[in-house]
């Protein structure tokens, strides 16, 4: 039992340890060699191959220490003997190119080949095939060729295909064809030629001259010198000659006089294999090489509390729409829409009297439709003496026989107290019945009733206000194309009435519904709906045509002094949407609106006055007014002004808390950032964490970034790189450039995740796309230190310089790269 427990613990520890790279390696990857060296030496004492390899590189190239070639080679050989693939490849390349000793190179590269490196496998195969540095052995060569071919080396695939084609068995011939095609598709010129000739001559494959010619032409394009001659031979002499020509020339012919090392390099070049150690920027002699370091982002850069004012043009148009529609909704008169019906005389009847007589006859037989129409005639006094009592009794009769419109009319009679005693309870029963059977007028009227409530001295006659029911009834009526219902429901959706928690997702969903409803109402000819539709069109991401449409509507309705239209017009002038930007015109409209105490005009004027003159008392007055009228942005700006005017922190926090009470996310985030940057007491930190967690549920990338940072650095939570990685990933996916940078760093250093240079570069590039300078520097670092692509490294360094000139590290790095590139 104990053993099992110990084993489990060991397994768990090893699993967690595997997630993170050793600190020594992380320092090495970051370019902090002086920090890495003592740790690496300790690991090297315990025969850690990776540490040995890194130490070898540091000694050989003078990274963080004076160059020491002897020690470097010792470390490198020890690492290679301990099966470090990179060390084996380094030594192999060194002996091949520098010492020109194929035999010694083969020793190391064979070991690398056995570890699965395809380049080394091809090299070993070629050595055994030609007898370079070892006695010729076709069987061993074949083994390495197969391995290499499986790893997608085209020359190996070509050789393997030839081996198969030599055999007579049809299955081998088929395999030969497959491998030949693979090699040809991998852009190997000889294979393309051979495959083309095979197709043209029908040797081992069904004849297809057009395809054959196509492959030979491709081989010419790929640079095969014999291919052109083969093509002309084929076309003039015929099949046999061409085949013989191929056998002679496409083989891997070796010049007898050439040295094996040179031949091997030529063969490797032909195979497209690169077994060379990259050229590096190194100090001359035994001096220390100055290397760039990758600097982690500072706490301030990551947390970055934003103490800037919300500019009037940054105010989201949807926020303005919500507020404006809410105000209009609150102000509107509580009117019940009681629509009634009128009787339209059919074509075959001349007068109302005639119609009355005809309907009376039909009604005698209990025809409900006729009863209803007759009731309408009695109600309006058309063709008969006006008699509401009779009208009601006929409506009642038809309603009892399930006539839909009559059900509604009976409800209306009871509601209004026409002829009968007013009775809300009975009225509601009839109206509900009609509404549930699909009568649109009943649905609209019930929507009104539930929205405002029916008040009466008798509690049994009172109908309570119920917004959920109102919403349901309006929805049914809106679906029945009643514009009043569509407009009313749109107002309710847009004003945030159905989103008391201020949830972003719900708000966006509601706005989408509101847009559709406004659109339908506007199409049905409701003029008011057009103004709010124009607000949707005034969003920045909409097309220019829609912006112009918004301007036209705003212009049209502002002529009749509609405040909402005037506000929209000012915003459009201010932002230059649909019309040429005209700040002065916007200010004039804002001023005239501010006289009527318009909330947004107050906010806009207040902020503009402050931005123009920081000690303007008028600015504060306007903002205070706007804040009192319920604009969270105004409260927020007041807090920022307090902070910028160096007032006490307590005052700033007091004002910020007021903005928070209005459930304003930006204010929440600023407060949390303020607590985090000042590393406040545990209670404040708890508040900050609570805010971040709440906002992260709303998928706020800034909050997710902060959570990741807290987990990474062990602030408030215990250190957990995996959780940090998770939060950074969430934030990066939502487009945060700092989180993308942090993720890139985690991938580069192997923190909380397996080291992956490709993914690191991907994330850095995403961050750089958003003009984040540190990400550009990091890409330059990877390009120069890891990939030795100095041209591109220089480009990235220079790009970062363009956006931020004061980074000395970048300057020196770009300069040293420049001198190195000139030397090359």
């Amino acid at each position: 039992m104990k053993r099992l427990l110990i084993l489990l613990i060991i397994f768990w520890i090893s699993c967690t340890a595997l997630a993170n790279e050793h600190k020594a390696f992380q320092h090495y990857y970051q370019g902090e060699y002086s920090k890495a060296q003592p740790m690496l030496s300790k690991l090297a004492e315990n025969n850690n191959p990776k540490a040995l390899y890194f130490l070898a590189k540091m000694n050989l190239f003078g990274y963080g220490m004076m160059k020491n070639t002897k020690n470097g080679f010792e470390y490198m050989e020890r690492a290679a003997k301990l099966k470090n693939l990179n060390a084996q490849m380094y030594l192999g390349a060194y002996y091949l190119h520098h010492e020109k000793n194929i035999k010694e190179a083969l020793v190391w590269l064979k070991k690398a080949a056995n570890q699965g490196n395809p380049n080394a496998q091809m090299f070993t195969a070629l050595c055994y095939l030609n007898g370079f540095g070892v006695t010729k052995n076709l069987d061993v060569a074949k083994r390495y060729i197969i391995k290499s071919a499986q790893n997608d080396i085209p020359m190996a695939q070509f050789l393997l295909a030839k081996m198969f084609l030599k055999n007579r068995h049809p299955r081998d011939k088929k395999m030969g064809r497959i491998w030949m095609l693979k090699a040809a598709k991998n852009h190997y010129a000889d294979a393309a030629l051979a495959y083309g000739v095979m197709l043209y001559t029908g040797n081992n494959i069904r004849t297809n001259r057009t395809k054959g010619t196509m492959w030979i032409e491709r081989s010419i394009q790929l640079g095969n010198k014999n291919a052109k001659a083969v093509l002309t031979n084929i076309q003039s002499l015929g099949n046999i000659g061409a085949n013989n020509n191929l056998d002679k020339k496409s083989a891997l012919s070796l010049q007898q006089d050439a040295k094996p090392q040179e031949t091997m390099i030529a063969l490797l070049k032909k195979a497209g294999i690169d077994i060379t150690n990259p050229k590096r920027i190194l100090a001359e002699g035994d001096a220390q090489t100055k290397m760039p370091t990758l600097q982690s982002l500072s706490k301030n850069t990551i947390i970055e509390p934003d103490f800037s004012l919300v500019s009037p043009n940054d105010l989201p148009i949807h926020y303005i729409l919500a507020h404006v529609s809410n105000l209009t909704y609150q102000k509107q008169s509580q009117k019940l829409h009681v629509n009634t019906y009128t009787y339209v005389i059919p074509k075959h009847v001349k007068t109302h009297q005639e119609a009355f007589q005809m309907l009376s006859r039909q009604a005698m037989y209990g025809h409900t439709q006729a009863l209803f129409k007759l009731a309408l005639l009695y109600e309006n006094g058309d063709g008969v003496e006006k008699n509401k009592e009779k009208a009601f009794s006929m409506f009642m009769k038809a309603a009892e026989l399930n006539h839909l419109k009559s059900e509604y009319m009976v409800g209306v009679y009871y509601l209004k107290g026409w002829v009968v005693n007013k009775n809300n309870r009975i009225a509601m029963q009839w109206l509900r019945k009609a509404a549930l059977h699909g009568n649109a007028n009943a649905q609209l009227l019930l929507g009104n009733i539930y929205e405002y409530g029916l008040h009466d001295n008798d509690p049994t006659q009172t109908v309570k206000k119920d917004l959920t029911r109102a919403r349901a009834m309006y929805s049914l009526a809106a679906q029945n194309h009643i514009p009043e219902a569509q407009y009313q429901l749109a107002q309710m959706y847009a004003s945030g009435l159905f989103n008391p928690t201020n949830n972003h997702k719900i708000q966006n969903k509601n706005l989408k519904i509101a847009y559709q409803l406004y659109l339908n109402a506007a199409k049905a000819g409701m003029e008011k709906a057009k103004i709010y539709l124009a607000y949707f069109y005034a969003a920045r991401n909409e097309s220019e045509i829609k912006h112009t449409y918004a301007y036209n509507i705003a212009n049209k309705f502002s002529a009749i002094r509609n405040h909402d239209a005037e506000l929209l017009l000012a915003i459009l002038y201010d932002r230059g949407l649909g019309v040429q930007k005209n700040h002065r015109a916007a200010l004039t409209i804002y001023r005239s609106l501010a006289k009527d105490d318009n909330v947004f005009a107050n906010f806009m004027l207040g902020t503009y006055y402050y931005l123009h003159d920081k000690n303007n008392q008028r600015a504060k007055d306007y903002l205070v007014k706007a804040a009192e009228q319920g604009i969270a942005y105004a409260q927020y700006n007041l807090a920022i002004i307090a902070k910028n005017n160096h007032q006490l922190d307590s005052e700033f926090l007091l004002l910020l808390n007021k903005a928070i009470k209005r459930d304003f996310n930006k204010a929440h985030l600023l407060l949390a950032d303020y607590y985090l940057i000042n590393q406040s007491d545990s209670l404040a930190m708890k508040k900050a964490v609570h805010i971040y967690q709440r906002l992260s549920k709303k998928q706020d990338p800034r909050a997710e970034l902060k959570l990741g940072y807290m987990y990474q650095k062990g602030i408030y939570f215990s250190k957990d790189t995996k959780k940090a990685f998770y939060w950074y990933q969430q934030s990066a996916n939502h487009g945060n450039k700092i989180a993308q940078y942090q993720l890139g760093e985690m991938y580069l250093l192997g923190q909380g995740v397996k080291r992956n240079i490709k993914l690191a570069l991907n994330y850095y590039k995403k961050s750089a796309e958003q003009q984040f300078e540190p990400a550009m520097i990091a890409i330059g670092y990877i390009k120069s230190v890891v990939q030795f692509d100095y041209e591109n490294a220089k480009k990235w360094y220079l790009q970062s310089q363009k956006s931020q000139a004061s980074i000395t590290n970048v300057n020196s790095q770009a300069l040293s790269l420049d001198t190195f590139l000139r030397r090359l």
């Binding site: 509900r432 549930l436 929805s475 809106a478």
Partner: protein, 200 residues
């Protein structure tokens, strides 16, 4: 000795408990499968209503499988479109997590969904989208006696709802119709083409 036995028992017991818990979790989280051949087409949720518009235009007779995904009984009330003065009653009650089958032979039918309170005798209108899962069999074949718009069956399990439909002599996925549809697609009727051209 006893201690070991107790430890083994607790391990086995906790494993069993975990299994049962995960199985029940699995059951609640499991996505409901539509019957084979039944596709979520031929209807739309518009605000609170559900509107059935059969996808089979040429042979206007189709079958909808409707499941109540909420935990309360839902009453489906057919809503009059306004043009018809009378009330047609093709209403239905669907119990929680049960399947009902609606046969439709009309171009468009609209329904309102309500929760019915028996004690107060009141309907509470709810959004159909939050309460129903719907799918349509697009290639059905009906016997002449069984055509029309009506509830084929109400409140069954998925399998017994399928069986009940078959009991009415309805082929849920008629291979002939499928073939005919493919044939129509490949070789459209020249007369139809002409009429389309005229319309354009």
């Amino acid at each position: 000795m006893y201690k070991r036995i107790i430890i083994y028992f607790t391990i086995i017991f906790s494993c069993l408990l975990f299994n049962v818990a995960s199985a029940s979790n699995h059951r609640t989280k499991k996505k409901t499968r539509f019957p084979v051949g039944c596709k979520p087409i031929g209807y739309k949720f518009d605000l609170y209503n559900v509107i059935f518009t059969p996808s089979t235009k040429k042979y206007l007779q189709t079958v909808y499988f409707i499941r109540n995904k909420s935990n309360r009984t839902i009453q489906l009330l057919q809503a009059n479109d306004g043009s018809d003065p009378y009330i047609i009653n093709i209403d239905g009650n669907i119990k929680p997590y049960r399947w009902s089958v609606l046969s439709v032979s009309e171009n468009k039918i609209k329904y309102i969904c309500t929760n019915y309170d028996k004690r107060k005798n009141k309907h509470r209108v709810i959004s159909c989208q939050n309460a129903l899962q719907i799918c349509e069999f697009p290639h059905t074949r009906f016997g002449t006696n069984h055509r029309g718009t009506y509830w084929l069956t109400l409140n069954k399990s998925r399998r017994s709802a399928i069986n009940a439909t078959r009991f009415h002599g309805i082929l849920l996925s008629d291979p002939k119709q499928k073939k005919r549809k493919i044939h129509d697609m490949l070789f459209p009727d020249p007369k139809q083409k002409e009429t389309q051209e005229v319309r354009i």
